[in-house]
């Protein structure tokens, strides 16, 4: 379909902007995100406070920028960890023999039977509300999805004709993995990362929203939204700012994923 490249470009640019903003937060944030001045509470956007102030007088824009560091950073770490764990387990299932495959399959089905957010919440909440808890909880909740993906990709990669040829000649073990299987996985896995990145960001902020994630006073976007709930009528900017931030980050990921998914598709046949 047309415009796929455009989607990828827009998505990546947006991600780049957000990432840069996150990295540059210490320098471009107008105020200290934790500096509270109750006298200035709930002020609408103004030149001093471009996004207004929250219920205890902190600058919303500064909190957003620092929050970007938190959310995007945590998301990146979580994605890296989850992909790694999922890959190891998925490959183990593919190459470890039937018993290992069955056993892992049972575990995967068990984890996938629970709604993602519920599992994440339970694990993160019980691990103790904290950044580490969030990362561990998310990893434990999403490894199954990755393991299943990697397994199915590796299985079809293993049955490719040129791989069958290599195996017939005697290539096996690490060499088979590194030179024949893994290269085939690279592109679909990257596309999957883009796809899941959005979900991870939403999950992190959802945990914060429920009070089970990164704890206040850290400027986590989801927590900020929870605080904004009480002031929906009086201070609508409080609710808009973090929401737009999360949506923007997730949109960036999803645009890239959507473009990547349909890249190289030819226009389909005339229907009937």
């Amino acid at each position: 379909m047309i415009g796929n490249r455009l989607l990828i470009v827009i998505g990546s640019s947006l991600m780049l902007v957000l990432g840069l903003a996150a990295l540059a937060a210490p320098w471009i944030a107008p105020h200290d995100p934790l500096a509270a001045d109750p006298a200035l509470r709930l002020q609408p956007p103004s030149p001093t406070f471009p996004f207004g102030t929250d219920q205890i007088g902190r600058c919303v824009l500064s909190r957003l920028l620092w929050g970007a560091r938190l959310s995007l950073g945590t998301a990146a770490v979580t994605l890296a960890l989850t992909t790694l764990v999922g890959m190891v387990i998925g490959l183990a299932a593919t190459f470890g023999g039937r018993f290992v495959d069955r056993a892992i399959g049972v575990a995967v089905d068990a984890f996938l039977a629970l709604p993602g957010m519920m599992l994440t919440m339970v694990l993160a909440g019980l691990a103790g509300p904290s950044t580490v808890g969030v990362v561990l909880g998310l990893t434990a909740a999403s490894w199954a999805w990755w393991a299943r993906l990697v397994r199915s990709l590796a299985l079809s990669a293993r049955e490719q004709e040129y791989v069958l040829g290599a195996r017939a000649v005697g290539v096996h073990g690490p060499r088979l993995l590194l030179r024949y299987i893994l290269p085939q996985l690279r592109q679909p896995l990257l596309a999957a990362v883009a796809l899941r990145a959005g979900w991870v960001i939403i999950a992190i902020s959802a945990l914060g929203f429920l009070g089970l994630g990164i704890q206040p006073p850290a400027p986590e976007w989801g927590a900020m939204l929870q605080e904004a709930r009480l002031h929906l009528a009086t201070a609508p900017w409080l609710m808009l700012a973090p929401g737009v931030a999360v949506t923007a980050a997730v949109l960036a990921c999803n645009l890239v994923a959507e473009g990547a998914q349909h890249l190289g598709e030819r226009p389909p046949r005339e229907l009937l």
Partner: protein
């Protein structure tokens, strides 16, 4: 009676008039007759076959020329012009029977469909007849309850022929109907096609690169090379005394395979 007339047929991508994929195809076919289209792989045989029933793969189109089916010209610019003529007038059997049959429908039902959905039979009569048709092509009637993946390649090809018998089309376009079949199956399929011609007067367009199949089965031969029709004529004469160098090459290559002196 003339059933198919093709002149100056050109096929290609829209806007690619200068470089058509297939050009200069000329065909004339009478009822009960058979013409073979042959040439090396990639010469354009399948595209020509698809054009005759309006099933060219998107975005390829007919760029020019005339196609007349049963004396009535078909608007080659309208991809839907063929819709009402397919099935009863022109029926195309694809190259790989594996993909042609619906994997979720029983064999008998797929044969019966041709009768009740295209030829207006009642469903009950159609199902009875479908079993008879399967048997007439050499398959066990009980296979009608089976699904395509439960049949062998040769059996699936014969199901397609059974569907052809059900439709009784005026023109049958068969694209490589015998590829991938063993000798016995190939003979059976060709015999069935012959029967269709003799009993129903169906005209046959047979696409194949296998000269063995053509000799004795088609009256005329069209040779296509690199998208262009290079020679056409009665089969026997053409094969014995090929005029165009490419045809000669084909015959030579074929003889070498057979072991006869070139």
């Amino acid at each position: 009676m003339r059933v198919l007339e093709v002149s100056g047929l050109a096929i290609g991508l829209p806007g690619g008039q200068a470089h058509p994929l297939v050009r200069d195809v000329e065909l004339a076919l009478d009822a009960g007759g058979a013409v073979g289209i042959t040439g090396e792989s990639g010469a354009g045989k399948t595209l020509t076959a698809c054009a005759l029933s309006g099933l060219l793969p998107d975005p390829i189109r007919v760029l020019g020329g005339r196609v007349e089916i049963l004396g009535e010209p078909v608007d080659v610019d309208d991809p839907r012009a063929f819709r009402r003529r397919r099935g009863r007038e022109v029926f195309m059997v694809f190259q790989s029977p594996a993909g042609a049959l619906d994997p979720t429908a029983r064999i008998g039902g797929q044969v019966a469909e041709a009768l009740w959905a295209v030829r207006g039979w009642t469903r009950a009569d159609a199902h009875r007849e479908s079993i008879r048709l399967l048997e007439s092509v050499g398959l066990d009637g009980r296979l009608s309850r089976r699904y395509p993946h439960q049949l062998s390649g040769g059996q699936r090809q014969r199901v397609l022929i059974a569907i052809a018998f059900a439709l009784k089309p005026r023109i049958l376009v068969a694209d490589e109907p015998t590829s991938g079949l063993d000798e016995a199956a190939r003979r059976q399929v060709l015999a069935l096609v012959r029967e269709l011609r003799d009993t129903e007067g169906t005209a046959v367009v047979l696409i194949t690169h296998d000269l063995r199949v053509l000799a004795g089965n088609v009256d005329q031969l069209v040779v296509v090379h690199d998208g262009c029709q290079v020679e056409a004529g009665p089969t026997g004469a053409l094969l014995r005394h090929p005029a165009h160098p490419h045809t000669a090459e084909l015959v030579r290559a074929f003889r070498r395979l057979e072991g006869a002196p070139p």
